[in-house]
Symmetry: C2
Subunit: 552 residues, 2 copies
């Protein structure tokens, strides 16, 4: 009997982020990417969200390797957590592994990292993975042609088709069309921009806009962008060089990434351009460029602190020009607009997407997706890397090209799709979903804790502590009430002492007829809920703490 | 000695929302608008933010009236709270007062409402207020020409210059140019769109797009928009009528506003078009239009509940077309995109701004602002209704028109600007800022409570209760620990009992050398902070509750 190929997405379907995809053939599993995503607004206190990998842990012996497409957080960020439980070899290009290494070191995680290059064909069990160079907003990105006994899968990774990439390395069209010629079973395609008509602009266009801006300004230039967008950072250095300016780098992740990219040869500039922040004061304003983190308005980032006047080493001065070479990730719009306002107020001219084209996307728009499909001519397609509407737009696009709707599969995280040489069908489900990371806790915060945090956030907490003697039906100590986040205590003493009196009465009454803990606790809880709602229309978390004397 | 005119903004400067502006001449104060704004993301549990009116309360006898420009929440929403403390007459147009009345009734607030019409000149003390019709995204909007002994102020209100308004009532250009001819001391100008080049599109353009959409679809049409945008609602009725469809209205605020607008004659449609939701099931899908709230993704709104499948009466069906005739207010982008995804997943075609032009702004773009300035030719200008960058863009625009930069005043909430016939200068400050409304509490939640809520939200709370005998240096009951929002208790029993043991040891040690409450409390708090951070890297709110036996 022949085995079939199973495709099992563990993250990245119906969402932007935490990309992780498993390919299983027989008793071998190849994993592509292991990303994180940032928490939703209502996930209070959560640092990251990572994929549920319980299926992989149950089949630990089958997992051969994790293969990375590129070095972005949403494709590699879960590895420090995943590798602790699943110590398998990790394949990636030089820059991808270089950036990953810094993060693994921060988490004290060691790993078996295996460097690959575009063009390599890497045998992993019965899979052969051909590494194909694609363009994206980080250098050294790969699409993976995964050759399996039932046919070839092209897993696109994040990609765009940039005809004038900053590093001159265009997407490998020959490799793609050759795959198409030989036959592609399925295309797993980046659907992030499947709603955008036309072609995504070239990264190089941002460089031209930077040149235009630098030609006009006389003061300092401060450029904020994603720390991983090495091409854009390269262009800032290039423009600075053309205008005889020096460059200083601000923000931990920016410094880390620039250091790694320089060390590995992905960022190249004439000696002497890069200076320390301390040296800026010796330079005239029109000789200064600062590259900073904070293009998303992140509260602790370099630019945000400059905007609020709390950066230890850089003050915004009238005459400064700040360029936000980025676009807000959905959910960050308000943070970003606060930063813009703070910078403007401090006297800077602020240039951002909408004012000038200082950002281009890293993902393929509709015409590029069509071109990719036409080069590969796959039998089946699965839109990945997208929320539902992006996936639906991809499906619609394929149908406009003449493909049957049944050829584009609607797949959610955890869905198993089983491929033969000429068929694809749903084949059950594995556990999938979100694991929340809070501090060093991975998965210990779930819905119960989150719901409590939401109620605590909305109306605070009220604790009523009483020590009782159930046999004597007496209150020995308390009731004492403490609250936090509910009302301003200094102005609510009357309310709190009224509450203590009510609880005492209610509890004494309850003690006459019952010694059940749950009855007694309710006799404390209920008058509190009632009184507080009546007086404030709020519903704080109410914690009755009933204690008895310790037995010696 | 002659009095001067003082302009004192109490809200609306450096922010979008909570508009409130005071004009003081001698011992008379005229207030324009009294709006609210919605809380920032980190203002946990807060319902609304309203202006600080302590200056008006201190000068209560001087306040003559509150004059309203239009009926939007950010211009009238604080009145239920303000009128309780400051029961002065309120002037506004019929629709403005009609919408306000519903809100005042909900809050059980009575008010002396005085109806005015465009063209009226209303004497209020030594002020004369000329009501001038302007266009905006709600009908019956006014700009106010406030005639004072030192000159005329034109307070624009929210406005655009729509050449084809839905109700046919264009902005009163003759009144504006006449003011210009007679001389305008200062223009207080809506700066919301001062960054947008060109002219804002006409509301009527949305009607054309609705027609195009209705011409193509065969299933139900569900249109979500702002409940106050009566013109857009009118256009939905008009389009429905042209295509022989019936209309049902969903969502409390939509039902309220449609009822008020119909009663007052601002919404006009043939009898029989409006049907109850219950009657929809009797109609074929291509005869149905539903107008709903929820265009901002508000969690409890009609559309959001339809998107999540939890609406009690309306299920989204394949074949439905949902039109979000709106644009997300900054901060709501993610909520809106979740709603879009939910609707798409349920099988609806979803049309929103970006896919088609189903929304136009209600605010004047740069060319309209220039036209307004050219009609009025004011001596001085103050950009209002805007964050700092909008105000700065307005100033830049005036300078491009040849005005001196000194003529455009940079003013923040609480700044007093003193006008004579030919001068304007800063003249001190009054208290201004945000008052937070939470439930029925107005102003009782401040920074302390908010900071507690933020910490509670991030890491939860841990309460340690102990009853002690300080004389005997003994623990009588406890320590007992309860937590909420910190860790999942069922899986953390070990951690919590370890904590109880540590506290007991630390407290007993402290009791040997001290009976000070603060020392004893710290002996409980500190080992808890330390242990929890070590084991979880979290910093929950720690509440030590030390009690002694009650004296009988």
């Amino acid at each position: 009997m022949r085995d079939n190929l199973q495709f099992i997405p563990l993250g990245g379907m119906g969402e932007i982020g935490k990309n992780m995809y498993a390919y299983q053939y027989g008793d071998e599993i190849l994993v592509v990417d292991a990303g994180l995503k940032f928490p939703e607004e209502e996930m209070f206190g959560i640092d990251y969200v990572i994929p549920n990998i319980s299926y992989l842990l149950e089949n630990q012996k089958k997992v051969q390797a994790i293969f990375l497409t590129h070095g972005h957080e949403d494709h590699v960020g879960a590895l420090p957590f995943v590798l602790k439980q699943l110590p398998v070899p990790v394949y990636g290009t030089k820059l991808t592994l270089g950036l990953l290494k810094v993060k693994l070191d921060e988490h004290n995680v060691s790993a078996n990292l295996k460097e690959v290059r575009a063009g390599d064909v890497v045998p992993i069990g019965r899979f052969k993975v051909q590494c194909i160079h694609v363009n994206h907003s980080i250098p050294d990105s790969l699409g993976l042609a995964i050759k399996t006994p039932v046919g070839t899968i092209f897993h696109s990774g994040d990609f765009k088709l940039d005809q004038t990439p900053v590093d001159g390395k265009v997407t490998d069209y020959f490799a793609l069309t050759t795959l198409g010629q030989e036959g592609v079973l399925a295309l797993m395609a980046d659907s992030t921009n499947a709603q955008r008509p036309g072609y995504t602009k070239s990264e190089r266009d941002v460089g031209k806009v930077l040149d235009d801006i630098f030609a006009k300004i006389k003061g300092r230039a401060i450029v904020a962008t994603f720390a991983s967008n090495i091409h854009r950072i390269q262009q800032v250095f290039d423009t600075a060089d053309r205008f005889g300016r020096k460059v200083a780098v601000v923000g931990r992740s920016m410094v880390n990434n620039v250091t790694t990219a320089v060390d590995l040869g992905y960022l190249v500039f004439p000696k002497g351009i890069l200076v320390e922040i301390e040296d800026l004061s010796k330079l005239p304003a029109d000789k200064v460029v600062i590259i900073s983190t904070g293009s998303q308005g992140e509260p602790l980032s370099g630019l945000t602190r400059m905007a609020s006047g709390s950066h230890p080493r850089i003050n915004i001065l009238p005459g400064d020009t700040v360029i936000l070479a980025s676009t807000p990730v959905p959910g960050n719009e308000k943070l970003v607009s606060r930063v813009i306002d703070g910078l403007a107020k401090a006297g800077a001219q602020v240039i951002y997407q909408g004012i000038l084209d200082v950002h281009v996307s890293g993902h393929a728009s509709r015409e590029e997706l069509k071109l990719m499909i036409n080069m590969l001519r796959p039998k089946f397609m699965v839109p990945i890397h997208g929320e539902y509407r992006h996936q639906a737009a991809f499906s619609n696009l394929a149908q406009l090209m003449g493909y049957e709707s049944s050829v584009v599969l609607a797949v959610e995280n955890g869905d198993i799709v089983e491929f033969t040489r000429d068929s694809a069908r749903p084949a059950g489900k594995v556990p999938a979903g979100s694991v929340l990371v809070d501090g060093i806790g991975v998965g210990d915060v779930g819905n119960v804790v989150l719901r409590d945090r939401q109620q605590l956030a909305a109306d605070g907490v009220l604790v009523a502590s009483v020590t009782i003697d159930r046999q004597q039906r007496k209150i020995l100590a308390g009731p004492t009430i403490i609250s936090r986040g509910f009302v301003y205590v200094k102005e609510s003493e009357g309310l709190l002492s009224e509450a203590e009196a009510r609880i005492a009465a209610s509890l004494l009454k309850a003690l006459q007829s019952s010694t059940e803990w749950s009855t007694l606790r309710n006799s404390v809880r209920e008058p509190l809920i009632e009184l507080m709602y009546e007086k404030t229309r709020r519903r704080p978390v109410i914690l009755p703490m009933l204690m008895e004397l310790n037995r010696d």
